[in-house]
Amino acid sequence: MSLQGEDGATVELADGIEHQVAMVMDLNKCIGCQTCTVACKKLWTEGGGREYMYWNNVETKPGRGYPRDWEEKGGGFASAEQAGQEDVHGEREVGELPSEEDWGRPWEFNHGEIFYDGSDESLRPQGEPPEWGPNWDEDQGAGEYPNSYYFYLPRICNHCTHPSCAEACPRKALYKREEDGIVLVDQERCRGYRYCVEGCPYNKVHFNVLKKKSEKCIFCYPRKEAEGPDDEVRPPACASECPPQLRLVGFLDDEDGPIYKLVEEYGVALRLHPEFHTQPNVYYVPPFAPPQHTEDGETVDVDRIPRPYLEELFGEDVHDALDTIERHRDRVRRGEDSELMDLLTTQDLARQYRLEAFE
């Protein structure tokens, strides 16, 4: 289904979906503090087989990510045509199931000994010395001094328009909610086959060994539905707890909302790895970095973050997106107005989070 906006832009929604929730993350604001990660973990994945799970994680790019090398594990669709087919089961790109080493085991620390038993050991993970874990390569990045570079990439489930996790499930245990396109795992239908885990090219479906079922980000739908004690509609916890407030939340098909404007009108928020053809509904404003320096500290007109690398992550549209932002920055520097810059720097929560547009 495609909706034609006033400005001629078209929004593709999945068949049978009334509206599509979406999120834009501005990577220029992410400080890698992991507050989103912790907010999500405290809320949804504290224990009971979820110890190793981060429905929201923040990884350093360039880097191997969480789970390790997820970008190379396959999944998704071979083409946009395949993604659009009604039933491509059996023809999809079958991915690889990440191992427990790839996810990284949850570390047990000697807190008790140090804080209560008076031990003068140093605080460290217990058991076998770990060899990998989430953020093992944090802040490592790439490039040579003085032109080394890295940036942070927060990731949640993309609640894709063509979710290959759902397509991968022979039991149709994963589905998109009709009212808002949130992708969920029906815990009654799930039998723990994990085709969804290997079918998601973003590796955002996890397996709970204790429950023997798959689990994933639910876009905090109870918060969206005002199920908290104060009956208020709230954005996902990862968004509302973010110290630099880098996330905007709303509906892709809300023409007055921030997502539509950034994605469809200005084209500055892009999908991560569009070549997986699942059509994510989490979008990223690509990162800028200071230009390169010579060894003497002279600034030269060369991108610090190589464009080919950004293109690898966000596709060819990254050039237009960066150029558009640059143009609007210049405009603001000259004292002119820019709706785009207003939107990217707004502190008005009603503009940043629009989850009641269709009520």
């Binding site: 190793y52 059996g90 427990e100 022979p170 723990g192 085709y195 290997e198």
Partner: protein, 279 residues
């Protein structure tokens, strides 16, 4: 010369007669079973011991070796299955049907839970086995999980989850129901021994009842966890049957058919012998 020739004719005739008799009677004498029959032995004394997968009582039942092949399925790697045969024994005792599956699997894949905070075995799969039956004993469902019109009742066992009872109406539809089958498993010397025991008579809808005095179709499936086998990636048998129907062992005209065949054989032999002697 003439006497010799006569003696030879008598010998030939005798041999033909013996052949004819053997052809007609032998199959009945050796008790040959149709290829797809899974024999069920009455063991009234065995009682509860049959739920023990390695109980001595199982030695009193004949084993049926059943070949397995990859199930037709759209699951990824559906053709990559590793268990090639399952040995099935079945017995009745006290109104219960007990079925024991035994198969070779060099790796025992069962419990992945371990310590809750330990590294989870997120990419490990359990060994499993299942028995598929038509929910309606007289129906003939499709071998791949039946269909909406002809559902199947599945008795399922797996290392991590133990026993489950399922109902399915086609691939991907299996649904857990209130379990009335008890399962038990033993792993010994590179082999799984798994028993399934249930009352023959059942009051619940959509469950196979064995008391209707008719043959009941049955199929078997085995999954090897260390080969990541799960869902439709499984080794399965063709439909077999439990001979719960009334005798006789074969169709009533079986003896006549055998006699005709034997007679034809004799005629051919005699004609050949006569032909050779004339030349």
């Amino acid at each position: 010369m003439t006497a010799g020739r006569d003696r030879r004719s008598v010998a030939t005739a005798l041999a033909a007669l013996v052949l004819l008799t053997a052809a007609a009677v032998a199959p009945a004498l050796v008790g040959a079973r149709p290829a797809n029959e899974v024999p069920v032995t009455d063991l009234p004394e065995a009682g509860d011991s049959l739920s023990n997968p390695t109980a001595d009582a199982w030695g009193q039942t004949p084993a049926k070796e059943i070949a397995l092949a990859s199930a037709p399925s759209s699951a990824p790697n559906a053709n990559d299955t590793s268990i090639e045969a399952v040995s099935v024994r079945a017995a009745r005792t006290d109104g219960r049907l007990a079925v024991r599956l035994r198969w070779a699997d060099p790796t025992r894949d069962t419990n992945f839970t371990g310590n809750q905070s330990a590294t989870p075995h997120v990419n490990s799969f359990g060994d499993a086995a299942a028995i598929q039956l038509p929910t309606n004993a007289s129906a003939n469902p499709g071998i791949a999980m039946g269909s909406a019109q002809t559902p199947v009742n599945v008795w399922y066992w797996s290392g991590p989850t133990a026993g489950q009872e399922l109902i399915a109406g086609g691939p991907g539809t299996s649904t857990m129901v209130n379990q009335q089958v008890s399962t038990s498993a033993t792993y010994r010397d590179g082999h799984w021994y798994v028993t399934f025991v249930r009352n023959e008579s059942i009051q619940t809808a959509n469950r196979t009842d064995f008391t209707a005095n008719e043959d009941v179709q049955v199929a078997f499936a085995v999954w090897n966890g260390s080969n990541a086998e799960r869902a439709g990636q499984k080794a399965v048998s063709e439909w077999q049957y439990f001979p719960f129907g009334p005798g006789p062992q074969g169709p009533p005209y079986e003896a006549i058919l055998w006699a005709v065949a034997g007679l034809a054989l004799v005629v051919v032999i005699v004609a050949t012998v006569i032909g050779i002697r004339r030349t």
